[in-house]
Amino acid sequence: MSNPDLLYSEVEQDLRASVRAVLTDHCPPSAVLARLESDEPCDLGVWRTLAAELGVAGLHVPEDRGGHGASVRETAVVLEELGRSVAPVPFLGSTVLATTALLACDSDLVGDLAAGTTTAALAIPLTTAPGSACPTTVSVGEDGLLSGRVTSVVDARAAEFFVVPATGPALYAVRADAPGVTVAEVVSLDMTRRIADVSLASTPGVLLASGDRAEAAVREAVRVGAGLLASEQVGIAEWCLEETVRYVKERHQFGRPVGSFQAVKHRLADLWLELVCARATARYAADALACGSPDADVAVALAQSECAELAVRAAEEAIQLHGGIGMTWEHPAHLALKRAKIDQLAFGTGGEHRMTLGHMVHLPMDIPSLAQT
């Protein structure tokens, strides 16, 4: 907390440039739009390039475990770029959630994920918030087989295996092609990051951790997920602001650029300023998680509080200031809106994070005057 580094390092800037170049070339809005209603939710070609060639899947994995020995700061920078492009790749489910959980239980499976040769998903609802109880809708039978159902698992369709919290508590690895596994895709609000309901019926799994260790692994994955998602939200907001600025500079109405109208200018200036503040919180969260700061829980809750709603607001302003064109399916603005809206729900809403934040910074919610009523 005393001396956080809130800047982007040169290495991080280089990483950003590489990721952006790949996404610009291979994942333009037209490609994302074309995939929306296809049966292949993820763009595995782009994912291979990012994960295997650029190595983004192993940034925060130590070198001796098959990764690049960087930190979640770098992972956060990748998320900013993924937020800008809403690229349909399983980064959140596999690299952020499953990898973090596996790292926390010292599993060897992390190596393949870090190399980008395998993808996994953490079988929890995407809306699970940091600090909430470990989901245990999957139970272990007397025969040691797993049964149960987990709803709203992100990036489930692309996963070759699942990291599954189960009663015990315990954490299992389950192959997606194991007997009894069903992955039922639901109609997602954000078709660039789909969710699915995962069911297990007497399915064999490999025990990864049990007891407190299993719980701690899931908790850490959710905390890192929430903290880093703020960077994706910053990326979304940044793209919305840039695109809108570009559009209102070009679009003429009443004989002048729409962006020369003062009300439009002031709204965009306000949005820019909110983005400046939100970015500082997202960087702070990434840095605090990377350093294992004692303030990391506060940093995560703060970042979600500020970034979740900003991304939604930025996308809503983008739609409005694009006028009719922003309401069309062909224009990518709605991709940002839908991503921003589901990100607002992911890992707890801004309001839920503020509730946690208030508790952590000693702003108690207990209301004596209500106790009487």
């Binding site: 609000l189 003429h252 009443f254 739609i319 006028g323 809206k341």
Partner: protein, 392 residues
């Protein structure tokens, strides 16, 4: 003409055409011919030259008798926008030709006004109409046209003189949507639906007899159309919790597990805003009824859009995990918007259009600031220059 006399006409109509025995269109034609379509229209054109306030009397009597109506929501553009304009600017021949099938719903109308490059600044439109003998030859692209794929006729504005300032070189036409060169393409929206269309006009020939109003006077004619559009908005009365707030409030009541203190504060605030807006609507209608409309109407659409957006955004948040889902992305072509029959995600996305369609909220704020508050206009650079010289 008073209420008793009007009731007499209704009785005569019902006596001659028993609604239970008469084919729907035949009954509607008879009703039109009896002057009971819109009583304030001239005799012979569906009306009786009677006060507008007698229309509810007719509607109530006919509804009580089980008579069919003309499904007004399906033909809203014809009734609300085309008809008053034809009445105000049409020739006798045009009025006779168009109004009857318009009102009976036999001919659906659509509106070809907005263009990709002329939205808020509608008068900047670029669709060209060039005179050729007794015809005009029209080429250009229109957008945000609902009902274009079912419409027989369109009201159309096009540029007939690019060498004069933009408001002065526009002419108003009735366009036959079945004419060669008219191509309608569905325009898909962020909801997955295609409520609207793009309409491409390629050398469409419109007889000069289908021009409404003088050449070059299209902007004034269009103002009549648009004024009638605005009057139509916000005119309906709803009970408390009658709108989107009712859906959200019921979810709150039925699903305690979704509640948090922060959401409670926000929900009650939204409830209060919804109720305040509803009361403002009640007050507005009381002012209208007292013959003193006041300027409040200008704001209703703006306030409704903001409330619908805030409420639907709140609803998705309230639902949490369920909010991650959508009901259906299938490309559909609905004839009417139904906010309440779909899921929260649909409401959220569709409500974004409320502040864009029919005048953006930015334009409405300009209108309130200038016409209600009397604030000065901004310096204009586009009013005096020839249309062809404007930057775009």
């Amino acid at each position: 003409m008073d209420a008793e006399e009007v009731r007499g006409r209704v009785r005569d109509l019902l006596a001659a055409h028993d609604p239970l025995d008469t084919e729907r269109v035949a009954f509607l034609r008879a009703r039109f011919d009896a002057g009971l379509a819109w009583v304030h229209f001239p005799a012979g054109l569906g009306g009786l030259d009677a006060p507008r306030s007698l229309q509810p009397v007719v509607d109530a009597e006919l509804a009580a008798a089980g008579a069919p109506d003309n499904d007004p929501r399906r033909i809203g553009i014809g009734l609300g926008m085309a008809a008053p304009t034809v009445l105000a600017y049409g020739t006798d021949e045009q009025k006779r030709r168009f109004l009857r099938p318009l009102w009976t719903g036999e001919e659906v109308w659509c509106q070809l006004f907005s263009e990709p490059g002329a939205g808020s600044d509608l008068a900047a439109l670029g669709t060209r109409a060039v005179r050729d003998g007794d015809d005009w030859v029209v080429t250009g692209q229109k957008v945000w046209t609902s009902s274009a794929h079912t419409a027989r006729w369109a009201i159309l504005i096009a540029r007939t003189d690019p060498d004069v300032p933009k408001h002065k070189g526009i002419t108003y036409f009735v366009c036959d949507m079945t004419a060669p060169g008219v191509e309608v393409r569905p325009l898909r929206q962020i909801t997955g639906e295609a409520e609207f269309n793009e309409v491409f006009l390629t050398e469409v020939r419109i007889p000069d007899a289908h021009r409404l109003g003088p050449v070059g006077a299209g902007w004034q004619v269009a103002r009549t159309t648009l004024m009638n559009e605005r009057v139509a908005i916000g005119g309906t009365s709803v009970p408390r919790e009658g709108g989107m707030i009712g859906i959200v409030a019921d979810t709150w009541r039925e699903r305690p597990e979704l509640r948090t203190p922060e959401l409670h504060s926000r929900l009650v605030k939204l409830w209060a805003r919804a109720e305040a807006l509803r009361l403002a609507g009640v007050r507005l209608r009381q002012q209208l009824a007292a013959g003193d409309p006041g300027p409040e109407g200008s704001g209703m659409k703006l306030a409704f859009a903001r409330l619908a957006q805030d409420l639907s955004g709140f609803e998705v948040e309230l639902l949490r995990e369920e909010g991650l889902r959508y009901d259906d992305w299938t490309l559909r072509r609905p004839e009417k918007v139904d906010f309440n029959g779909r899921g929260a995600g649909y409401r959220y996305l569709r409500a974004k259009g409320n502040s864009i369609e029919g005048g953006t909220s930015e334009i409405l704020r300009n209108i309130i600031a200038e016409r209600v508050l009397g604030l000065p206009t901004e310096p204009r650079t586009d009013s005096e220059r020839a249309w062809k010289d404007l930057p775009r």
